[in-house]
Symmetry: C2
Subunit: 380 residues, 2 copies
């Protein structure tokens, strides 16, 4: 086995864990943390709940919410300026993937200077970041666990993938209560994103026994709890999806992803698509493309997704993909690319960008931009 | 689900990973690390290999090897003095549980002052420790992963259990090559210790989905690779046992242990027994004691240990214990307490000490010192 690395944050998990946010920030030296969140969470009351916790620890704070879905490079620059102006010391992010990734981008620029574009790709961050405490509000992005940050480059209209061990937050506080105010379609989209993390990390060429264990756990749990969440996202179900998303985060942070995410980043950067909504289109198609290159693992995924102990590897793998397509159809999720992307004429350019995304490096089957285009055309 | 915590070090795993020790220490600010190891590893050549790596990074170091099996309180005090005299900055431990636990004890006293006895129990360390890079030489103790340190109190003749999140090393470098020079009986004893960690953490009353996953993985792998290691501890098998031991370490560090370890600490402190050798006697007896209190989980353990899908819970659980006893017998491990402890007259006192060990708090069935005595008498 090659030398492998496994790095995750300290995790505090459970209903009501939000109350530890102040103590955790303090433990990391906070006197005036910068809170990064978004208007939706403020309106749902979670931002003021967090402020109460910080006040309870006798702390001051500054608050930044100039963040949109698919956070932009200029928002990161604004945030870094804001951090400096307010002489903040620790970054607390409360939100889904967007506020969390924006917070990571801000931390990079605060600690390393320059512009966030300077750090695109793997292992290009060389100086330490301010301490980070993250509170996810969705069970999906895994940004609270991972060494990934995805920031939209507004000039090139693509999502930059930034990967560095220093992007793993110090502490992840996962409180399933925070998920209860999310609309159902966002809960489902996030769970599908987590499922894509689990599947892509499992078949990644740098998967290790440490990540494979987490990937399989996440695939199993999401295949059980995603349909239940579609009916009624109770706190029990949101808790289970949070466990699964955390496991998937541990896996993909350390094993990386594949062609589905490479394409999703390229599509998302150009068309400002909800990230969790493209996987129902792309993931089964990418799994078909990868099938022969990772047959025993694809068969294992198939056995979990179907709940059947199908011996024949190819049959198990194919049944798994079919089962996934049936699941997405039953949830009325998008299943053709034309439902997501307004115009097919951009596809060649999108696939060229996807071909240089860091996630493609670990896909089990190599893919040129033309291979990616063929995948996209098949699901158009 | 109650609020749960999951904290592990950054892990670098694989053959030859030793070469990263210098870089890792440097990343934590080392200019002059203190290396803690033991004469056995020095004689096997691993200490000088480590020095070569540090020299390759242009580092100075100081070296401490006044450590025995079941490390003593006074050795910790000597080590802390040594650290201060040499103005060391980072602690690098290379060894089995004993050098690693001694290194943790030294780090506690260096960072917090006083004597190591002041920190016995859970969460009594309040100031930061010097950074720690650990390189385990056995697949068993899990000290390179865990928030536990076990130090012998020479006056009271018992092992103190010290538990604190700050005892998790910053970086664990797990290089299975280092295990190749260990005698076979130590490899096996360490694997049985890891199996006890996995089983006790799985049935712990504070087990979480994060720890349960790791416990089950470790039980499965050790049940496969322990018998193979007894025949021929090849590098492949040592690597597999290292993965299992790391998984068990992640589990017990966060879910703690039970009555088997409480008794093992008390016995080991009084009679200076090789820690890994008492579990073959105590673990099956403690599992029988716990059977009804954790029946579904004990059944799951039984299914893994027997490799049979036994539906009936009690039968599965009992078959598992029997299978474990058969395994230990086939490996010619100790199976009566009189083979380990020289004199039964000490048992009441030993059990009284075990009853106040921190590990007993998470045993699935509560136990008084008299319950523990009954367990010991059954296996005398």
């Amino acid at each position: 086995m090659d030398i492998t690395k496994f790095s995750i944050p300290e995790i505090i998990f459970g209903r009501g864990a939000l109350k530890y946010a102040g103590l955790c920030a303090k433990r990391l030296g906070a006197e005036k943390p910068m809170v990064v969140s978004d208007p939706g969470l403020r309106e749902a009351g979670w931002v003021s709940r967090l402020f109460d916790v910080l006040a309870g620890e006798g702390m001051e704070w500054c608050y930044f919410e100039d963040v949109v879905s698919n956070p932009r490079d200029f928002q990161v620059a604004h945030g870094a300026l804001f951090y400096a102006q307010h002489q903040a010391d620790v970054i607390i992010a409360l939100g889904g993937g967007s506020p969390m990734d924006a917070a990571k981008g801000i931390a990079v620029v605060v600690g390393n200077g320059g512009s966030i574009h300077d750090y695109e790709g793997a292992n290009r961050i060389h100086r330490p970041l301010p301490p980070m405490v993250f509170l996810p509000s969705t069970a999906g992005s895994g940004s609270d666990i991972s060494q990934f940050a995805i920031i939209t480059d507004t000039r090139r209209r693509l999502k930059m993938t930034i990967v560095s061990r220093t992007l793993v937050p110090n502490i992840s506080i996962i409180d399933p209560n925070i998920l209860t105010t999310k609309p159902r379609h966002l809960v489902l989209a996030a769970a599908v994103d987590a499922l894509a993390h689990a599947i892509e990390s499992y078949v990644s060429i740098i998967a290790s026994p440490f990540t494979e264990l987490q990937s399989l756990k996440a695939i199993e749990m999401i295949s059980i709890y995603l349909p239940l969440a579609a009916r009624e996202p109770s706190l029990e179900i949101l808790e289970a999806l949070s466990i699964a998303s955390t496991a998937a985060g541990m896996a993909f942070s350390n094993a990386s992803l594949g062609a589905d995410h490479a394409l999703a980043h390229s599509l998302g950067g150009t068309f400002d698509i909800l990230h969790g909504e493209v996987h129902s289109v792309l993931l089964p198609a990418v799994m078909r493309y990868n099938l022969e290159a990772a047959l025993p693992k694809m068969a294992q995924i198939g056995r979990i997704l179907t709940g059947k102990n199908i011996r024949h590897e190819r049959k198990a793998a194919e049944a798994g993909i079919q089962s996934l397509e049936n699941l997405f159809a039953s949830l009325e999720m998008k299943h053709r690319l034309r439902d997501v992307v307004p115009d097919a004429s951009h596809l060649p350019e999108l696939c060229r960008m996807a071909a240089s995304d860091a996630c493609l490096l670990t896909n089990p089957r190599s893919a040129t931009w033309m291979d990616l285009l063929k995948i996209c055309e098949e699901v158009w």
